[in-house]
């Protein structure tokens, strides 16, 4: 029997608000432990939560960007479970009436295009962080566990997809697209390495074509898109091996081990966990005015999917358009300025997503430090299309411009990169080369065709590679 995977992704995004979800403490990262805490986020007796208006506005923006319906009356619930880094031993979250429901996201990769359903986007608060100290620093070998509550109460948005994903690669593509939308709306910096965006996957398998869903396993602890893809692939493999061997998949949560590249079962709970959700009595239901929601919708920025289509409409190659549409806004404006300054969109798109990005990476520079203007890209593409520099030399011109040596034509001149296409000058060089290599000329004429390449090389060498190869070829044909 053939088995097919069914995958859903749960994403947690920490919002980039100034203050926490239910108190006035600053949202911080990397500060000394327990320096941004108060009676509310430490759950001291008698303290009460007050919702952060800004966070609610942000989740609505995000929900609209994900094509969700905004529930006009949304309710907070308490999710009850005991854990040392959860100060109240319940998390204020949402249950049956989340802020946003029933959305979708269009996703595409080189191979496929597909739509992923968004079941819900809800508001909750983050937990503190357990820090294991002593011995190995791992949970099992730690002598002691300390808790840092700086993160406790940070506004957290959970985005739950429908189980619409059919492969590990698709899951990764969806995750990347979703992150791009989050970044675009500006609600979070969405940095995986800081944990400000976190991906969990629900994986199950079923006989190919079956309408029924298999037993799902939740996998956690993936800290890059690559590990998300690997973890899902590994889990699909594990489940397939199990059922093929006649065993059953158990409903559980598994931890991805990045080094061993396998998932491990976590503490096994008897039955499914019961969070005993009930309406949060400390908070009134939220009521959203429809005109206010419409205004928020009208203020949304252009999202990656639409931008992708717009770039393609300009003629940019599909792959470059996809990369560009989700790239850093400063790279995008470099591209758009280049086009405005007259660059061919195809060439400009290739330059920005290709050589410019590669050069930044080589320089270990951030996009913010980009020493390049759109009109310079436009000038460069023009020099290439007019044959004034070769494709190879153009890369060097770009480096020179980025090193601050001046405009593309100044750099090309100073670095002696302009192409030699002057016929008389080239004829002279060919004459000299033929005179210096009479033997080779003889061999060619007696039918040894491959010697022509040698002569060509000698010409390029004599011109330090600047000779226009097409012109040299023509002269050689005439002379030989």
């Amino acid at each position: 029997m053939k088995w097919e995977p069914v995958i859903g992704i749960e994403v947690h995004v920490e919002l980039d608000t100034d203050s926490k979800m239910f108190c006035g403490c600053r949202v911080s990262f990397g500060d000394p432990p327990n320096t941004h805490v108060c009676p509310v986020c430490l759950a001291l007796p008698g303290s009460l939560p007050v919702p952060n208006r800004k966070a609610i506005q942000e989740i609505i923006r995000l929900g609209l960007a994900l094509n969700c319906r905004i529930n006009p009356d949304s309710v907070f619930h308490r999710k009850n479970y005991y854990y040392a880094d959860l100060p109240k031993n319940y998390q204020i979250s949402q249950f049956d009436v989340p802020v946003c429901v029933d959305g979708w996201l269009d996703v595409e990769s080189d191979e496929t295009r597909f739509r992923v359903g968004i079941e819900r986007v809800h508001m909750e608060e983050d937990t503190g962080k357990s820090v294991h100290v002593g011995e190995g620093g791992r949970i099992h070998s730690a002598a002691e566990t300390l808790v840092d509550f700086n993160r406790a109460g940070t506004p957290l948005v959970e985005i739950v997809s429908r189980p619409d994903l059919k492969s590990a690669a698709d899951a990764r593509t969806y995750a990347q697209e979703l992150r791009a939308v989050v970044v675009e709306t500006g609600v979070s910096d969405a940095r995986m390495e800081r944990g400000s965006i976190r991906f969990d996957a629900n994986v199950s398998i079923r006989p190919e074509g079956s309408p029924r869903l298999g037993v799902k396993v939740e996998i956690k602890n993936m800290n890059s898109f690559r590990s998300l893809e690997k973890a899902i692939r590994s889990e699909i493999g594990r489940q397939t091996a199990l059922v093929t061997a006649g065993e059953r998949v158990v409903m559980e949560t598994r931890h991805w081990d990045e080094e061993a590249e396998v998932t491990h079962g976590m503490r096994t709970k008897e039955g499914s966990s019961d969070y005993r959700y009930f309406t949060e009595p400390d908070l009134a239901p939220m009521a959203f005015d429809s005109s206010w929601v419409e205004e928020a919708r009208s203020l949304l920025p252009e999202l990656p999917a639409l931008r992708r289509d717009r770039y393609r409409g300009m003629g940019v190659r599909p792959a470059a358009a996809r990369v560009l549409a989700s790239s850093d806004p400063r790279l995008r404006s470099l591209f758009e300025e280049a086009v405005e300054s007259g660059a061919d969109p195809v060439a400009a798109g290739n330059w920005v997503t290709g050589e410019v990005t590669a050069s930044l990476r080589r320089r270990e520079a951030s996009v913010g430090e980009l020493p390049l203007r759109g009109d310079q890209i436009a000038a460069l593409t023009r020099m290439v299309s007019e044959g004034r520099v070769s494709a190879g030399a153009a890369r060097e011109v770009l480096e020179g411009v980025m090193d601050g040596e001046g405009s593309p034509s100044e750099v090309a001149t100073r670095r002696n990169l302009l192409q030699l296409s002057d016929r008389t000058a080239l004829e002279e060089v060919v004459e000299e080369v033929m005179a210096a290599n009479p033997e080779a000329v003889e061999r060619y004429r007696s039918g040894e065709g491959k010697v022509r390449g040698y002569l060509m090389g000698q010409v390029m060498r004599a011109t330090s590679g600047r000779a226009d190869p097409r012109a040299v070829n023509e002269i050689l044909s005439a002379r030989l």
Binding site: P39, L42, A43, L44, P45, G46, S47, L48, P49, V50, P51, R78, N80, Y82, A84, P87, K88, N89, Y90, T145, V147, D274, R276, Y277, F278, P281, D282, L283, A284
Partner: protein, 494 residues
């Protein structure tokens, strides 16, 4: 020196006429406490130093002509489930032994702002769960009228302190009757305001959707004054009422002429002490004689309100009390894992009634039982609200006894939780509806124990409710009756 037991009003007058000072008032209250505490145990903690410096400051301000209003310089007691900055706050639980909050509850902060002198923290049933103050981890409080009897609960310490004169007024909290029932059993006035009128910030939560802070005082006027000092919008409590607070003392002299009083049919009859029913009957006749239109109103859901309450309140408490886990504050019984520390701390720190309610609430919220228990209880709650609304189309206020019986003996109901829960049968509906209600003493039974009369009103109906309560107070003439054995005898200078 006044010879009658002091009220906020009379003490305030004496202060402003120069007859007495805040320091003298405090000294009188403290000396009452010294005389009675060994027997009554109203207080868990008397803040002698803090109170003295507050009283001195109040006197200095008055000398300079700075008058903060009716509460200025008045010794007030605070139930020990409200946070007081730097002053031990235990909720009568071992789990919070020695806990000193870093902040004042909003109600406490407003008391200080109003110039009140906080005498100390009063005893209660652990985490306000109980009706007799016998569930305190630090020993029960006794009733000043008969020390063999309970003061009611859970605000038993506050009620007994006001009755005994070891505080001029006190704050309590009321989740199912915890202000009104002890007020009734101790012969003082107790008022539960409309839900949201007084901020819950800093009140250690029992059942968040029901809890409300309110005054325990000698007179209805005092209740209005104390309520005025602590009520009003608080941005730190998202359920706090955002509108203007009414002038509570504004219509105390209005009388009841032309008002429609609805006698709740379900709150009386079988199970009610005959003397309580008779006293209520008599008061209704007197009110009618003053021009009130008295009719009987039936609210059938009152019969199931108690059951709904004993699902909703424990459910909320099971989550509210989850934070007491030995991790950050209070008692911590160290186990080999975090999980062991949590369960060992809770097993040792909580008393049996608290554990009973946490278990009940956890069960009521569990998957598979939610709809049958918690969900059903919430439905009853919303239907009850409809029933109230219908009743208030026919009458202006509803009236009933506050408690089916007068004070019962210590130990009498401790082995029978259901009998104990029945003590709150008359008071619980107003918590479920979020409406205000007040208890006023109207007489003594044959054993010399106080009987309370309850007036209930629609949301934010405090003014009208207090107008009726003030008339009840005048008609009862309770202050002319012999005082409790352990209260200040007349003529003793305070």
């Amino acid at each position: 020196m006044p010879s009658q037991p002091l009220s906020i009003t009379s003490a305030g007058a004496a202060l402003r006429s120069g007859e007495t000072t805040s320091v003298e008032l405090l000294a009188a209250v403290m000396s009452r406490a010294e005389m009675t505490e060994s027997e009554l145990h109203c207080y868990l903690n008397l803040d002698r130093e803090g109170a003295m410096s507050a009283a001195r400051r109040a006197d200095r301000e008055l000398d300079r002509g700075e008058d903060r209003g009716p509460l200025h310089g008045i010794p007030v007691a605070v139930k020990d489930n409200m946070c007081t900055r730097g002053l031990e706050t235990t909720c009568s639980s071992k789990i919070l032994a020695g806990y000193r909050p870093p902040y004042d509850a909003t109600a406490v902060a407003r008391l200080r702002e109003a110039g009140a002198v906080i005498v100390g923290k009063t005893n209660l049933d652990e985490f306000a769960m109980g009706s007799s103050t016998e569930n305190s981890a630090y020993g029960p409080t006794r009733n000043p009228w008969d020390t063999g009897r309970v003061p009611g609960g859970s605000s038993g310490g506050s009620a007994a302190a006001v009755a005994a004169g070891s505080a001029i007024a006190a704050l309590g909290s009321d989740t199912g009757g915890s202000i009104r029932q002890p007020a009734s059993l101790c012969g003082v006035v107790g008022l539960k305001p409309t839900y949201g009128l007084v901020s819950r910030y800093g009140l250690v939560a029992f059942a968040s959707s029901l809890d409300q802070i309110g005054p325990l005082t000698r007179t209805v006027r005092d209740a209005a004054l104390l309520l005025s000092a602590v009520a009003g919008h608080d941005p730190a409590d998202a359920t706090s009422y955002a509108g203007q607070t009414p002038d509570f003392a504004g219509s105390l002299d209005r009388g009841v002429d032309g008002l429609r009083l609805g006698v709740v049919k379900e709150l009386g009859g079988e199970g009610y002490q005959p003397e309580v029913s008779e006293a209520t009957e008599m008061m209704l006749e007197k009110l009618a004689a003053r021009g009130a239109e008295v009719t009987e109103v039936s609210l059938p859901l009152f019969d199931v309100a108690l059951s709904a309450y004993y699902l909703i309140a424990p459910a909320e408490c099971s989550a509210n009390l989850a934070r007491f886990d030995g991790m950050r504050y209070g008692l911590s019984v160290k186990g080999s894992t975090a999980s062991d520390t949590m369960s060992d701390t809770r097993a040792e720190g909580f008393g049996p009634e608290v554990i009973r309610r946490i278990l009940l609430g956890t069960y009521a919220l569990s998957a598979g039982y939610f709809d049958a228990f918690y969900g059903q209880a919430q439905k009853v709650r919303s239907l009850l609200l409809d029933e109230f609304s219908e009743a208030y189309e026919k009458v202006d206020v509803l009236v009933s006894p506050t408690s089916p019986t007068t004070a019962f003996r210590l130990g009498e109901r401790t082995q029978d939780p259901l009998a104990m829960y029945m003590s709150d049968i008359c008071t619980i509906p107003s918590n479920l509806s979020g409406h205000p209600a007040i208890s006023v003493p109207i007489g003594l039974d044959s054993e010399g124990l106080p009987i309370g009369f309850q007036v209930m009103a629609p949301a934010l109906g405090e003014r009208l409710m207090m107008a009726v309560a003030a008339e009840v107070e005048r008609l009862a003439g309770f202050d002319a009756l012999p005082p409790p054995a352990l209260a200040p005898p007349p003529g003793v200078p305070l």
